[in-house]
């Protein structure tokens, strides 16, 4: 469903020069699977997912969604994914219903189907209480629900969640996770990025630990735990990152020695 090969993205930064936000990242995700991207802030998770949603163009490498290349067929890719992140806010001057309906129309749903889907979505996500509330007046939890509804209104085969529980209280976060589980059960192909171990343990079939733009380890949780002989996920995560940083420093100082 999703195939990412050697994906690289660089930025030109005044202070640091050329910075690789994503360095030769490769992974695949199958339908009915939740793929977890686990990494600290600034690891490159958001950049990777932005490339998959065609908002950013990769510097090199390829990524395909349902067989469509994100660079060559961005419109087809966008048609087939539902994307939700911290940066996809909702409009202040639109009601919950208008917002979801607007996106449904943009996805080209015919009127009768759209009506049906809207009713079902508002029922399953329990959004009928605030269906006519303006975005500006909603609570964070309500906004998150509208965002989810907006992302899945067109019933996409691929859904990308970028830290969907960030800033939510436990109750709402639990509901969001339940929704993700529900979508998986419907056979969707899901990428779930987070920095919270508990969520990974609970939801993800496979995970990739990403740090400074590179994937450090990938596999099912048990696979990783066995590989690195570390039953605790959190410890595993810290070990991997610390080891990578050490190596990196070593190579950098070697490089410096070699050049000076």
């Amino acid at each position: 469903m999703i195939s990412v090969q050697q994906l690289t993205k660089g930025f030109d930064d005044l202070r640091r020069g050329w910075v690789a936000a994503l360095d030769q990242v490769s992974f695949d995700v199958q339908p009915g699977e939740i793929f977890g991207l686990l990494g600290p802030n600034g690891a490159g998770k958001t950049t990777c997912l932005r490339i998959l949603s065609t908002v950013l163009r990769p510097s090199s490498g390829t990524a395909t969604v349902s067989g469509f290349d994100v660079v060559k067929h961005p419109t087809e890719v966008r048609q087939r994914i539902g994307f939700m992140s911290n940066n996809t806010g909702i409009y202040d001057r639109m009601t919950a219903f208008e917002m979801v309906e607007y996106y449904g129309r943009l996805y080209g749903l015919p009127d009768d189907l759209l009506k049906l889907r809207l009713e079902r979505l508002f029922d399953t996500l329990q959004m009928n209480d605030f269906r006519d509330t303006l975005g500006a007046k909603m609570s964070t939890g309500m906004k998150q629900k509208v965002s989810i509804a907006r992302a899945i209104v067109h019933d996409p085969p691929v859904i990308i969640f970028d830290e969907p529980t960030c800033g939510l209280d436990v109750l709402v976060a639990r509901k969001v996770l339940a929704t993700v589980q529900l979508l998986k059960d419907q056979g969707k192909c899901i990428i779930f990025s987070t920095h919270i171990m508990r969520e990974v343990e609970k939801l993800c079939d496979r995970i990739a630990i990403i740090h400074k733009g590179a994937i450090l380890a990938m596999g099912t949780l048990t696979e990783l735990q066995e590989q690195h002989q570390q039953p605790d996920t959190e410890e595993l995560f810290f070990d991997l990152i610390a080891r990578y940083d050490q190596q990196n420093q070593a190579t950098q100082s070697e490089f410096r020695l070699a050049t000076s």
Partner: protein, 836 residues
């Protein structure tokens, strides 16, 4: 392009804007409330203003001759054009004070009279001192001219006395000024004793035709004191002048009647004006000045706030990414937003104009009905006619489109609404500057003077000027002809601006501009140290701007240098300057920028050897293209204004047989071929081509190349040639074919001019009989091409260009450099990739 998406986005944005109280207030409520409120305020102020009468004091009113000038404490109303004006002047004289009797007013009036008398004393002193000064000066003149020592005073003593008198006069004047300023008097009239008797005496002299008493005509005249720096005094004086002129006219009439002389005596010429302006035309004149300026300003402001809200606001509120992940393409999103902004821009402009028109119309009719105030004098202004309003609507569309796209691009660039607001001021300043320029009566869209065709292709100005002409006279066929270029160019500019907006919206660095700190030092270091192999788009654009500015700055120096040479040396001097200009202004910026800013000069300036085929084509193509270009320019001569003097001189110098041909070829063919190619097909084209869009790069570099030529004809010609040159340069990936083409093309022009002159000088018959007459002919003393030549050249040129167009397509020569960043992150790695 999915228009359904555009419509969806448009409808959502419009609804969004209508739900925003600030935008609604700015666009609808403000104009509807502001102008009526301002109108009421103005009306109130004029009412208050007209209540205030001004004080005129007359001393010695007993000596005024008949007919009667005063009526109590007013002037007789007959003497005013508008009898109601009599109330606006309060006249205080000895008699009027007695009439009023006691009370507060009387005391005040007495004080005024007191002040007036003090003023009169000073005036008399001033006159006396003035007389003494005159005498002293006469005396000095006598002393200087005649050596006879008749008086007892020495020259020094006289000089000293003059100095004293002058100082005294200054003192008196100061006192007089202070006194007048501190008094409540706006105008003071001092009537000298015996004025009535003097006038009667003169009248008698005239009746008797007695010429022996010529001296009797000079007698003391009244003095009117006013202060030009005081507005109240100015207004009062204007009215007093009106009264006195009318009154004096009557005295003169009586004098003439008594002397049995015709009244026309005083008006030997007596021209009469004939005003053809109908009432609508007067109104049309007012509207034609007011509406274009207002339309431009309103279209900008109306576009700006919604643009900031739909673009920068979207970033600020964190919904930009939500929008970008919807299936609509960037172009569709921008179009949807663009139509929204345009819709608001147009409605703001129309609402404002309607509100201003209605308020103005209403106020004038109110003022006219009351018959008072300055507004009543403007007459009743009628609203513009239906055809004029239709034109206003039609022209508003391209104007709004242009500003909407501009504002949208600027607003997309901005990180936040606040940053967006900062861009309003410069935009507004430029638009106001342009409209003020259009307000001048001398600036018209008609081709009355040379450069005026230019106005019809200038953005914003063209629309404002056309509207001005059409509001003045909607059926104006002379101006209607200009509607075609005006509308065409305006739509072109709007599309360009829209393209820019779409570019902005597709640029990752613009959309995801984070609050990164900007430091000049860091930026410079980055620019100079971490060089990229070829120039960026911005650097190329900057290079062009530098060339343009340098050329502009050098114009004066070169002009002076040419003006200071003798006519004989003019040609040589001009050739020298041409070479210097090419080297210093065109080649140097490109070379230096390539050296400083790029890692590979060779690559930036395309210093590779081409395939021999390209060299061959580049050597053939000029011969095919020159006849076409020449005849095209000749057939379009009507469109362009006359060549400016400098260009004519240059053309003459080119054909001047006195000049040596090699020198001319160096100056006019070799130097431009090398320098201009380095700059425009080297640095500029490489930079523009960075993001891999070949066609855009060719067109932009050609346009830059054209604009650099300044003279309209050459701009047109050079742009067309620039396209050919750009194509050759990109396909061959070498500068050499372009240089060859450029050199040959210019050489042919020079040679044609010279040969033409030679043949015209007595070889005309020879040409007519030779084989060559099938291809060329003589016309107006120059060599021209026949249809046969044109057809052959047309085919040859098309074939050559087709070959060039096809030949490079499959090859990766024009492959975007951007993709190469993929292979290695550090720019340093790329050299190996690029080496041939």
């Amino acid at each position: 392009m999915n228009w359904l998406n555009v419509k969806l986005i448009f409808l959502r944005e419009v609804r969004d804007q209508l739900r925003d109280r600030r935008t609604l207030f700015m666009i609808a409520v403000l104009p509807l409330l502001l102008y009526p409120a301002m109108g009421i305020g103005m009306l109130q102020m004029t009412l208050l203003f007209s209540e205030q009468p001004r004080t005129v004091v007359i001393l010695g009113e007993k000596h005024l001759p008949p007919p009667q000038l005063l009526d109590g404490d007013k002037f007789v109303s007959n003497w005013f054009n508008n009898p109601a004006d009599a109330d606006k002047l309060k006249v205080i004289t000895d008699t009027s004070v007695e009439l009023v009797g006691g009370g507060l007013h009387a005391a005040q009036n007495l004080l005024l009279l007191e002040q007036a008398r003090a003023l009169r004393e000073h005036i008399e002193q001033h006159t006396a001192v003035g007389n003494e000064l005159k005498q002293a000066e006469t005396k000095r003149r006598q002393r200087l001219t005649s050596s006879a020592d008749s008086s007892d005073e020495s020259l020094a003593m006289i000089q000293q006395r003059i100095g004293q008198l002058q100082a005294r006069q200054v003192d008196i004047d100061h006192e007089l000024m202070d006194l007048f300023a501190s008094s409540q008097i706006q105008v003071l009239i001092v009537v000298p004793d015996g004025l009535k008797e003097n006038i009667e005496r003169v009248n008698r002299l005239i009746v008797e035709r007695d010429h022996s008493h010529a001296a009797g005509f000079s007698y003391p005249r009244p003095t009117i004191v006013k202060n030009r720096a005081d507005d109240k005094s100015v207004v009062a004086y204007a009215r007093v002048r009106e009264v006195l002129d009318a009154w004096e006219g009557e005295i003169l009439r009586q004098r003439l009647t008594a002397a049995a002389l015709p009244e026309e005596l005083t008006k030997p010429v007596g021209s009469a004006p004939l005003d053809l302006a109908a009432e609508e035309q007067i109104s049309a004149n007012v509207w034609s000045k007011l509406f274009p300026a207002l339309l431009v300003i309103m279209a900008v402001t109306g576009a700006f706030y919604p643009a900031v809200d739909v673009a920068a606001g979207e970033k600020e509120r964190g919904t930009m990414e939500t929008l970008l992940i919807c299936p609509a393409t960037r172009t569709e999103i921008v179009l949807g937003k663009f139509f929204t902004v345009m819709c608001f821009s147009m409605s703001t402009a129309l609402l404002n104009l309607m509100s201003i028109g209605a308020t103005g119309h209403y106020m004038l009719s109110v003022a006219g009905g009351m018959g008072r105030g300055a507004l009543a004098e403007a007459g009743v202004i009628t609203l513009p006619t239906a055809p004029a309003l239709t034109w206003l609507l039609i022209l508003l569309i391209p104007l709004s489109a242009f500003f909407s796209a501009m504002c949208l691009a600027l607003a997309t660039f901005a990180r936040s609404s606040k940053e967006g607001q900062y861009y309003l001021t410069p935009l507004l300043m430029v638009s106001i500057g342009l409209t003020v320029f259009c307000l001048s009566p001398a600036v018209e869209i008609y081709p009355v003077h040379q450069a005026s065709w230019f106005y019809s292709v200038m953005p914003v100005v063209n629309i404002a000027l056309l509207l001005k002409a059409l509001l003045l006279n909607p059926g104006n066929t002379g101006a209607l002809i200009f509607a075609v270029p005006v509308l065409a160019t305006s739509i072109g500019y709007s599309l360009l601006a829209l393209w820019w907006a779409i570019e902005q919206f597709s640029s990752e660095s613009v959309l995801f501009r984070d609050g990164e700190r900007f430091e000049v030092g860091l930026w410079l270091k980055h620019l100079l140290r971490e060089k990229e192999p070829t120039p960026t788009f911005t650097e190329a654009g900057f290079c062009f701007v530098i060339i343009l500015l340098a050329q502009f700055a050098s114009m004066r120096a070169f002009g002076q240098s040419i003006a200071s040479t003798t006519p004989d040396e003019m040609g040589v001097q001009m050739m020298k300057l041409m070479v210097i200009q090419q080297l210093a202004i065109i080649a140097c910026p490109a070379l230096f920028m390539a050296l400083i800013l790029t890692a590979s000069v060779r690559q930036s300036l395309r210093l590779w050897l081409p395939k021999w085929k390209f060299v061959a084509v580049a050597s053939l193509l000029p011969f095919a293209l020159h006849p076409l270009s020449l005849e095209l320019m000749a057939s379009m001569q009507w469109f362009f204004p006359q060549l400016p003097e400098g260009a004519t001189r240059l053309l003459k110098a080119m054909g001047d047989r006195e000049q040596s041909l090699p020198l001319i070829l160096i100056a006019l063919a070799a130097a431009p071929a090398i320098c201009e190619e380095l700059a425009f097909r080297g640095f500029v084209l490489t930079g523009f081509n960075r993001n891999g869009r070949t066609r855009v790069a060719i067109c932009l570099s050609a346009l830059a190349f054209g604009v650099m030529h300044m003279v309209p004809q050459q701009v047109f010609n050079a742009t067309l040639l620039g396209i050919v040159l750009g194509l050759i340069a990109l396909r061959s990936n070498s500068l050499l074919p372009g240089v060859i083409f450029h050199f040959l093309f210019n050489s042919i022009s020079v040679v044609r001019e010279r040969v033409g002159f030679q043949i015209a000088d007595g070889h005309a018959e020879q040409l007519r009989q030779s084989f060559w007459h099938w291809f060329v002919l003589l016309e107006d003393g120059g060599l021209r091409y026949t249809w046969l030549t044109l057809v052959i050249s047309g085919f040859a040129a098309s074939a050559c260009l087709w070959w060039v167009w096809q030949s490079g397509r499959a090859k990766p020569t024009s492959k975007p450099v951007n993709n190469l960043f993929a292979s290695g992150l550090a720019p340093a790695k790329q050299h190996s990739t690029f080496a041939p």
